[in-house]
């Protein structure tokens, strides 16, 4: 009797200790989660706080006089005249009219620097669409130069950065601000244009298109190949040393640093098969090699998780192995396979290193229209901008990261959604 009381007492004593250690263990878990969340939060806050400015750009209002003589053209229908016309003269004269007191070559040159040197081209496009404006005067908001943009934004935030401006330019901006002729407005260039040497004109549309084309090719190649390989290995191949060897190698491939795939792509696709460099085809091929192991591994796991009883039931009904796979295994494994594919695609979307090796790091202004147009991709664009000396590229870089992250978010959400939707059927 006393013995069992002793035991009860021992158990009671140990209870406290056990519950203490459990509390401690839970605390560790909470701390770990808090650290993780804090890291993510810090990342997002930092990127958003740096990048949100890039979605707005500084514009200056000037009166543009579409003077045919100044342009040196006689007809808007003549393409060669339009090409040779002096479009910058329009913005220059507009600025001179606005600040008529400015004289002297040096001051004038500084004055011209208020506006982006791409505005002349913008005016050309505007005039071609609205030919009736020729000879007329129009009040227009024109894109400011990146240094002006940087200064104006920092000045609005109360910490003016004027290292790259002259005293005169600062005065002019002040003057424009008092007149209400300078303002921030939605930066459409960011999402509709390709890369540019001028930060205020640089956009990520080219990189987005490059990424889309590359990923489309990657998905079209790696999903069918990966799923076919996974199905064959799981359902048809006999288990022997050779298939073991293949399995080990697929797992190894998944761990190979991505730059090696880039080198492989350079050696095989570009040097041997003479695929043109910098194009989405070669990017897609390299990323396919990189994504394949991921897709094969996740697809095999999805196939393995299909209960063997379903397979037996179908085989027992006289279904051929092909029918077992097509009618039963695939539908049940598909959600897992798609999730794997999307995770693989998300990896491929963020991949930079292998693409550097195959020339997708080139400076490309034109928006790629097809698989054979030179292109760059989002992460490489981020790399390029982060590497640029102009201060205005800092916020552009963060903005591009925001776009990349939102693409990743969309992909991951759609993976979850797809999974839920396909699984809910039964």
């Amino acid at each position: 009797m006393s013995n069992s009381m002793d035991n009860l007492q021992k158990i009671k004593n140990s209870l406290k200790r056990r519950s203490r250690s459990e509390t401690r263990f839970r605390l560790y878990g909470r701390v770990a989660i808090a650290i993780g969340l804090a890291a993510v939060l810090a990342l997002f806050v930092d990127i958003v706080s740096k990048g949100h400015g890039a979605f707005k750009a500084t514009y200056i209002q000037v009166d543009v006089h579409y003077d045919a003589d100044l342009l040196g053209i006689t007809s808007l229908a003549d393409e060669s005249q339009l090409m040779q016309a002096n479009w910058d003269a329009l913005t220059k004269s507009a600025l001179r009219n606005k600040f008529s007191e400015v004289s002297g070559r040096r001051d004038k040159r500084q004055l011209y620097k208020l506006l982006s040197n791409g505005t002349g081209f913008d005016l050309k496009e505007h005039l071609v669409v609205n030919p009736l404006l020729l000879g007329e005067t129009e009040s227009k908001w024109l894109l400011a130069d990146d240094d002006i943009d940087t200064y104006y934004k920092s000045w609005l935030d109360g910490e003016p950065y004027d290292a790259r401006l002259s005293k005169k330019q600062v005065e002019w901006i002040d003057q424009l601000h008092q007149q209400g002729h300078i303002r921030l407005q939605l930066n459409t260039n960011l999402l509709t244009r390709g890369d540019s040497r001028e930060p205020e004109q640089a956009g990520i549309y080219g990189a987005v298109m490059g990424s889309l084309l590359t990923l489309m090719l990657t998905l079209m190649l790696s999903f069918p190949i990966g799923v076919a390989a996974a199905i064959y290995l799981e359902e048809f191949a006999s288990k022997n040393r050779f298939t073991d060897f293949i399995e080990v190698n697929i797992n190894n491939l998944a761990a190979v640093p991505s730059i090696i795939f880039g080198l492989l792509g350079l050696a095989v696709f570009i040097n041997f098969f003479h695929v043109p460099r910098s194009v989405p085809i070669v990017g897609g091929l390299v990323l396919t090699l990189m994504t394949l192991p991921t897709i094969i591994i996740t697809s095999r796991a999805a196939i393995k998780s299909v209960p063997p009883s379903i397979r037996e039931a179908a085989l027992g009904m006289g279904a051929s192995r092909y029918q077992v796979v097509l009618h039963h295994v695939l539908p049940l494994a598909l959600p897992g396979m798609l999730t794997g594919a999307i995770i693989g695609m998300a990896q491929a979307l963020g991949e930079t290193a292998p693409l550097l090796m195959i020339g997708m790091v080139a400076f490309i202004v034109d928006i790629p229209q097809g698989f054979t147009d030179p292109a760059t991709v989002l992460p490489v664009q981020i790399f390029l901008w982060a590497d640029s000396p102009e201060r205005a590229f800092i916020e552009k870089t963060s903005a591009a990261i925001m776009v990349l992250l939102s693409f990743l978010l969309i992909m991951n959400i759609s993976a979850v959604w797809l999974r839920k939707r396909l699984e809910r059927r039964w």
Partner: protein, 288 residues
């Protein structure tokens, strides 16, 4: 049958020995009436190996048309393995090898020209755990007829589904929800659904691998009734852990022990006057 008499004699010899020997000796021969006229299936010297390990030793037995043969024996005696070798379900197991002859209406099912798809349409199977497809009740039944092209029209298919469910005694319970998932039924209903699915392709033989082991007594009783009804149209081989079940549903009972077929006799005889002392030891509960 000369062989059978010889076997009976050996059994009698061993019975008469004062020391009961429960070991299976190498020269063990099956006792009882294992052969019959015009068998539906007949097995001759079947040996089954899993890799190096032999699971079934020289089993020879006939299954008559429209009979219910029960296979009993202690765990690991190879009765399930033997059953699965009758419609080549063992093909899917890596390293499994079957030697000997398994004849269905006189044709060897292990002949290289025979297509397992055809074989399994003729020899259906019901498994230990109910395993309906994660599809609707209708789709579960219609699957077999669809893949074998048995139904010429939608009406045909509806008829097959209704007929199979009626034969399996499930129609009244599910006719209102044919298009709901089969996995939503109770365990006993699921097993009857699996039986209905098996008979939808009108097989000649139905193999049942412990069909009631996952079910409660009431569901078990339903299935046993069903087996009795089905035996009018189908030849049934059933593996069971329950001797009572074997006694209730089968015409003949085969007793397996350590991969050897010890005795095959009419069920009544096996449970009242077993010929072999191993059978006797098993049914009286001395091991198993």
């Amino acid at each position: 049958m000369k062989e059978a008499t010889a076997a009976t004699k050996t059994a009698k010899d061993s019975k008469s020995s004062p020391k009961q020997n429960l070991e299976v000796d190498q020269a063990q021969v099956t006792v009882g009436n294992r052969f019959c006229e015009n068998p539906k299936m007949s097995m001759r010297d079947v040996n089954v190996f899993y890799g190096d390990k032999q699971a079934i030793y020289d089993v020879s037995v006939d299954i008559a048309k429209n009979e219910v043969i029960a296979m009993i024996g202690p765990s690991g005696c190879g009765k399930s393995t033997f059953l699965r070798s009758l419609n080549r379900m063992n093909d899917t197991v890596d390293g499994c090898k079957v030697e000997g002859e398994v004849l269905l209406d006189g044709d060897n099912i292990y002949h290289k020209n025979l297509d397992v798809v055809e074989l399994r349409a003729r020899v259906g199977m019901v498994f230990q755990k109910p395993n309906p497809f994660p599809k609707s009740i209708f789709e579960n039944i219609a699957y077999g007829p669809k893949i074998h092209g048995l139904a010429d029209s939608r009406v045909d298919l509806d008829e097959i589904v209704e007929g199979s469910l009626k034969k399996a005694g499930l129609w009244e319970e599910v006719k209102e929800r044919l298009h709901q998932p089969g996995t939503g039924l109770s365990g006993g209903q699921q097993q009857r659904l699996c039986i209905a699915r098996a008979i939808a392709v009108s097989p000649e033989v139905i193999l049942m691998d412990e069909p009631c082991s996952a079910l409660d007594p009431i569901a078990t009783a339903r299935i046993e009734e069903l087996i009795e009804e089905l035996s009018q149209n189908f030849t049934i081989a059933i593996v069971t852990h329950s001797m009572q079940q074997a006694a209730r549903v089968s015409n003949r009972t085969a007793y397996f022990h350590l991969g050897k077929l010890i005795e095959v006799n009419p069920t009544e005889q096996v449970f009242t006057m077993p010929e072999h002392q191993l059978t006797e030891a098993y049914i009286t509960g001395r091991f198993g």
